[in-house]
């Protein structure tokens, strides 16, 4: 996007690519282990790391010359967490009814 990100990004791209493949292998392997209540958090943590790598380096958020881009990304995540967080704060605490 901006000029300093175009110098030699290939190394970054391939590093991210291999990290994503390793993450996929790791999440499949982790699913075969009995981690009790931690299976879902582990799977979601790996998925979030992978998604962050894609957004930062493949979608160039890291090098975005426009600060507004970062603001839009953060706003989207904020409202998603609001949606999921407040909903689950309700449903997950209804066991008495």
């Amino acid at each position: 996007m901006s000029d300093h990100s175009t110098s030699s990004p290939l190394k970054t791209y391939f590093a991210v690519f291999f990290a994503l493949l390793v993450g996929t292998g790791l999440t499949v392997f982790a699913a075969t282990l009995d981690l009790g209540p931690f299976n879902a958090p582990v799977a979601l943590t790996i998925a979030t790391i992978k998604a962050t790598l894609v957004a930062l380096f493949f979608m160039h958020v890291w090098h975005a010359s426009e600060k507004l881009t970062k603001l839009v990304v953060i706003a989207a995540l904020f409202f998603l967490l609001l949606l999921l967080g407040l909903t689950m704060a309700d449903y997950a605490t209804r066991s008495w009814s």
């Binding site: 998925a47 839009v72 409202f79």
Partner: protein, 245 residues
């Protein structure tokens, strides 16, 4: 640069400066100061669209979370019936396609025509592969009567980790409804993405992109990566709920 700085007043008072400059930079629309600003504006617009897409898929993820919270064991049993090898292969296919997309953007930035066309074609090939594997997976689900509806059947399926307990078919049906809607909506995005990349390929073939102007490839790439990110979450949530023996 202020417009007044470019104007050249000829003796007959005709303003030709702007006109000539537009011909030298045909891709630069007149309401932008320079290419960088034009690119940033396009990219920002795409990010705003992707933010609405996050909310769009967010509603489905929210529905999924609520039902998984209520029917955890049934969801585990239903998830176990999906072929994890196909899902993992598709994840790898999408990651490869994301790599070819960034290679396409880089090729456009550095004016490598062969790499650009090859990367765009490879992206489409990987996208079609993804949809083909998805089709095999759907076929399995149809054969097993796991498609929600009149012929749905999910009897005597054990709940993982709870010997002697069996999944409630009605609850499992909710899982499969979410599975088909979420992966189906994702597949629809893939099909739209294939259309975008076909258009990009044709435009690249005609030589429309230069290191100064390749915004459509970047914007199309943002869309493709977003669809990849959705899959990165769909894969563990739908395929890997309770896989341990």
């Amino acid at each position: 640069m202020r417009p007044t700085e470019r104007r050249v007043l000829l003796p007959d008072s005709t303003v030709v400066g702007l006109h000539r400059e537009e011909h030298q930079r045909p891709e630069l629309l007149h309401h932008f100061a320079d290419e960088q600003q034009q690119r940033d504006a396009s990219s920002l617009g795409m990010w705003v669209f992707l933010a609405t897409e996050v909310m769009f898929f967010g509603g489905l993820f929210c529905a999924y979370l609520i039902y998984r919270h209520w029917y955890f064991g049934d969801f585990g049993a239903a998830s176990k019936s999906i072929d994890v090898a196909l899902g993992a292969t598709n994840t790898a296919v999408l990651i490869c396609s994301s790599l070819t997309v960034v290679l396409a953007v880089w090729a456009a930035q550095t004016a490598r025509r062969t790499l650009l066309l090859g990367s765009l074609a490879m992206t489409m090939l990987l996208g079609v592969t993804f949809l083909g594997i998805k089709g095999i997976e759907y076929k399995q689900k149809f054969d097993e009567h796991h498609v929600p509806g009149a012929s749905f059947s999910f009897e005597n399926e054990p709940i993982p980790g709870h010997p002697g307990q069996y999944a409630n078919p009605a609850h499992a049906q909710i899982f499969f409804a979410l599975y088909f809607v979420m992966t189906g909506l994702h597949a629809l995005h893939m099909i739209i993405g294939l259309g975008i990349f076909l258009w990009l390929f044709i435009a690249a073939w005609k030589g429309r992109f230069t290191p100064k102007y390749h915004t459509p490839i970047e914007i199309g790439g943002l869309y493709w990566h977003f669809v990849d990110i959705v899959w990165i979450y769909l894969f563990p949530l739908l395929y890997l709920i309770d896989r341990h023996p």
